[in-house]
Amino acid sequence: MKLLLVSIIMFSSFSAQAASIYAGKSKAAAVCSQCHGVRATSSDAPFPPLAGRDEEYLKMALKQYRDKTRVSEVMNNIAGSLTDRDINNIANYYSRQKN
């Protein structure tokens, strides 16, 4: 019982702090990759690639889009649906992709 409790605490603290690349992958597939691709965008797309970008930069940009200090109709809407944890996961995932 004690062990279980300890592991629950450890697990929850783990997920609160560290970003999950798997959660990032599934969120990116559902929210971002339609426009930004996984490793690259379409050769004809007007969207910037996200793969291999700096993790902190991606977090900052998504948060700015979310609180509308950076204005874009589409990105304000899309980022508006993301939690802090989503943003951490997505930034972590994309920063580790090779472009």
Binding site: S33, Q34, C35, S42, D44, F47
Partner: protein, 520 residues
Amino acid sequence: MNKTIIKINQTLLTVSAGLLLLAGSAHAKSDMHQLYEDNCASCHGSDHGGYLAPAINADTLKGRSPTALRTLIMTGSFETLMPPFYGRLKDADIREMVKHLQATPKQSNPPWTIKDMKKSLKVYVKDESTLPSKPTYQIDSMDDLIGVAARGKYGRGKGSKAIFINSKTHKIVGEVETGTAAHIIDFDPANSRWAYVKTDTAEIFKVDLYSMKAVRSIKTGYNGPALGVSRDGKYLMAGSFVPHNAVILNSDLEPLKVLELEGVDPDGKMVSSDSGMIIGTPFADVFAIALENAGQVWVVDLKEGFPITKIKNVGRHLHDAFLTHKGQKLMVASYDDSVVIAIDLKTRKIIKKLKAGCVPHVGGGAAVKVDGRTLGFGTNFGTCDNNTVVSVWDLDKMEVVKQIPVSGGTESPAAHANAPYVAVDIITKDRRARTIQLIDKKSLEVVKTLDVGGHAYFPEYSADGKFLYVSAGYAGDEVVVYDSHSLKKVASVQMESPAGIFSRGRVKYMTRGLSPDEME
């Protein structure tokens, strides 16, 4: 004479300018039509009647919120091929397009005549004797080539290509840009140099596989994937959804004869028809074509005048087919009757109608020899209650062997004489679409599910049967290669929105799964 023309033109110009000022909307309407043709028609149909993607017209979009439609165009539709047009089209144009779509009824069949076709013929290499006499890249056998129809994110543009891979090294050996999404790649059975690529906007590119260059192209219609090559490589036949016709061409892509596709359907109604599959066969100098709506299969003899034998009452809404018994027997899928119809191309009569699953779509079909029997495998698009299956028939006795339960709708089976599994792609639109399932040839049961990623479809074995290629399509943007025995991932080939995969080995074994050494 010239003067008169100039004068008339000037008058016309003045009149049109006046009209433009008076009725700006008329001008906008033709602009919108062009914008539709340039961005939407390759998937939604030049007649607004739907093609790969749903029909979008006044009728189908009635009552839909313009705001929701605008959002859908801007962001695209997830888990479909619909791309985001945000940043590609101006917001004002997207708003106008929504209005245009909600006001435009389905158009009647726009004509595309043999004259239009001839005019569209483009020659990129005038003197074919200047082409290299052997492949300009390292490859053991041309049968090792695998062609992938890379659609490109927008179904057009720089990402739209036919990409050719050496299936022993999994490296790209050539890329041919096709302008709009490549859909079908067919190989010349008689000369390993040539391949033909057909796009969703019905252009055919003749490709020299030795130099990996397009030598000619022709536009055969507005939309439609059907394409066949004759056994001697001398003729091609292409069929369209828009307009309702098919054309026989020579190998220089010169159109020889156009067939208007119409006939009496199984319910006694005279109908104009989309072109379903077109297939050449090693059995004879003929093409077979399925008339989707008329429910007929026509057999066209490749001789003077191209005479046609019409086989009627085949089924309701025919689509695709595969060959068996040295190409003498043709198995045709009928969407609305849930059957696959066996046709004898010698007697040109129906042999039997065999029960399939729900909305049979056999793709390229598959046939394997197991314990002395030749088993045919048919995939089914639909997911009816308790009927989500892959169908297996005994092709000698022409009877149902088993309906194998699978996890969703399926589109195309892959098999190879040297590989233990028949692979089918699950296309049901949720997480299942990421997967393919493997059916054991002997036990006829699903033994493994692979999570490929993207929208996984169109599995295909390499000509030696050692590797299984699968498109991780939509936003997956890669072709994934597995070892066909261990099912371990061995390679990934990056490309934009890959779809159909076509091994040149197909010309040897006719239908995937049959012996690559002797025609069965």
